[in-house]
Amino acid sequence: MSEQPDHNKQGFWSRVFHLYYDGFRSMTVGKTLWLIIGIKLFIFFVIIKMIFFPNFLSSKCDTEQEKTEYVRHQLVDR
């Protein structure tokens, strides 16, 4: 078993920090998973969201009032 520093004697925030820090450092399969999560979030939020999924109403209207008018027009005239 590897030597573990005793973080229990440290303060709460230091223990929280070491929980994540040591956890990430000693990961094996987790590294691949984090890579997949990273790529996925990049594709979702940067490519898909920014390029293909703008908020439709916000792209047509500037104010809440305009959005209301737009939707009213859509619902009354369809």
């Binding site: 999560i37 908020n55 439709f56 109403l57 209301t68 939707v71 619902l75």
Partner: protein
């Protein structure tokens, strides 16, 4: 008009694709989460290293599935804002509130407790670790609760009032939204069916290991927990499936009629145990709806109302306004033609409301608002061109419903046998057919996923053409986009999600294969 239908179809296909892919990840997180928590509880009580090794094995699989599935649901929210913008505006804070609760809850519960679960073995006390594992499992179910509440509201809009000044529905009672009968039955049926799926998954993976003659003892331990959670899950799935059917019968009778391919209802209505639909059957023609059927007398009346003699309306009855009261009697209510007429009047009032705003006539606005709200349940019918437009795809709803129920019956048998073999392994050890049982266990995994996806198809296809039941059909909910635009994103999602699924299955299989070759009776790390 053709372009609009095309956009509706592509947007629906896109939503269906992303929702089904998302749902491939979720039930295993929900089911395996509970199984891992139970295993760790046994470890906590027994302090046995063997149970610790078993817990860690399944926790790794849980972690892989969670990591790859996490955030796939966010895509659905993107689609609301882009493809379904009229709908997103119209639902107002009703969708926003539950999803905001989910966001905050999921973030805090999952990011903290999952970290303790994976990183905290040597850093926190065993008790704290166990609590974190349970909270991760409970947190996952709770975050599913809110999206299911939102979905239930679309099936049965309640606890809200329409404000024509903002064109949004405003929540009048959070409790009515969160605790609606639809939300409750949906939550329990969905989550408990995920327990059954988790149980089947453990049985299938152990079946594979036993076929390969690896880690027999670990499999025996896993099977005891997996089969128990699976059996409890499937029994409760059936009970809540029954409650779901009663709820659907009450609030979405058209969906129930589609589930059964029932065109003309009756008192003491039979249920189709097995049937082949007549593909050329249309509402109001004289053809037989089934080419072949084996039916159980009085079954549908009982399933829908718990009364063997109650009247269950068929598609044609519902269109004609024939319904069933609380005592199970046949009654006449409003026909769809009449509802369309009333809907059109409401739409006209909405246009008058607009004029009243422009002229600053607040008295007129107030009186129109109360008239609109009094009859708002007919609003969506304004947009139907003919009553038959309100009939969902009957073959798809019928076959997926029957598939779900048939597989549900099979799973009950399978999981009970798995439980028996978990406690009496000697039966399998002596049996020549043991190999076939293991193979069956492996095949049951994809079968259960298909069953679960079928449940969603029943719920969602069965309520068409409504995005919000009775209030907003798809063709009104949709944004003014081009079909080509939606097609591009459909294919992007198809590629991205398929890649994620391949990664999920690939990494899970690799982990199972790798770890099963180590000794899972001791802790290796």
């Amino acid at each position: 008009m053709e372009e609009l239908i095309n956009v509706v179809d592509w947007s629906r296909a896109q939503f269906a694709l992303t929702a089904i892919y998302h749902w491939l990840f979720v039930p295993l997180t929900l089911g395996l989460g509970i199984i891992v928590a139970v295993m760790e509880t046994i470890y906590y009580k027994t302090k046995s290293e063997k149970w610790l090794a078993t817990t860690k094995f399944w926790m790794t699989i849980f972690g892989v599935n969670f990591a790859i599935g996490v955030a796939t649901g966010i895509i659905l929210e993107f689609e609301f804002g882009t493809n379904w913008s009229n709908y997103s505006w119209f639902v107002g804070d009703i969708f926003g509130a539950p999803l905001a609760v989910e966001g905050i809850l999921a973030f805090f519960m999952e990011s903290t407790f999952i970290a303790v679960m994976f990183f905290g073995w040597k850093k926190v006390s065993p008790k704290f670790h166990l609590a974190a594992t349970w909270l991760t499992a409970i947190g996952a179910s709770l975050s599913a609760l809110w999206i299911l509440v939102a979905n239930a509201w679309m099936q049965y809009p309640t606890g809200c009032e329409f404000n024509p000044a903002t064109m949004r529905n405003e929540m009048t009672s959070f409790a009515a939204v969160a605790l609606s009968p639809m939300a409750i039955s949906k939550f329990f049926h969905t989550v408990l069916s995920a327990w059954a799926l988790g149980g089947v998954f453990v049985c299938g993976v152990c079946g594979w290991m036993m076929l390969k003659k690896r880690n027999y003892e670990h499999c025996q331990r896993s099977l005891k927990v997996g089969a128990w959670v699976g059996v409890i899950g499937i029994v409760l799935t059936m009970i809540t499936g029954d409650t779901s059917a009663v709820t659907v019968a009450k609030y979405q009778p058209m969906k129930l009629a589609a589930m059964e391919g029932l065109y003309k209802g009756d008192h003491g209505q039979s249920i189709v145990a097995f049937g082949i639909l007549n593909p050329s059957k249309q509402a109001f023609d004289e053809q037989d709806p089934y080419l072949f059927d084996i039916s159980i007398p009085y079954g549908l009346s009982f399933l829908a109302t718990h009364d063997f003699n109650a009247f269950v309306p068929g598609v044609e009855d519902i269109i004609n306004g024939v319904s069933c009261d609380n005592e199970g009697n046949e009654i006449n209510t409003v026909s769809y033609a009449e509802r369309m007429e009333r809907g059109r009047q409401l739409k006209e009032m909405l246009s008058q409301y607009n004029a009243a705003i422009n002229s600053g006539n607040t008295l007129m606005q107030d009186s129109l608002k109360s008239v609109i709200n009094a009859d708002f349940k007919n609003f969506g019918y304004a947009y139907l061109d003919k009553p038959e437009e309100a009939i969902p795809n009957i073959p798809l709803t019928f076959y997926t419903f029957h598939f779900m129920v048939t597989v549900g019956g099979y799973l009950m048998l399978f999981l009970l046998l798995a439980l028996l073999f978990a406690y009496k392994p000697e039966i399998l050890n002596k049996a020549k057919w043991a190999k076939w049982w293991y193979i069956l266990a492996i095949i049951t995994i994809p079968l259960t996923y298909l069953c679960s996806a079928s449940g969603w198809i029943v719920a969602e296809v069965g309520r068409q053409p409504w995005t919000i039941q009775d209030l907003m059909p798809n063709k009104v909910a949709i944004s003014d986009l081009s079909a080509g635009y939606v097609q591009v994103t459909f294919w992007i999602f198809a590629v991205v999600f398929t890649a994620l699924l391949i990664a999920d299955i690939g990494i899970i299989c690799k982990q199972i294969s790798k770890k099963s070759q180590t000794n899972l009776d001791t802790v290796n790390d």
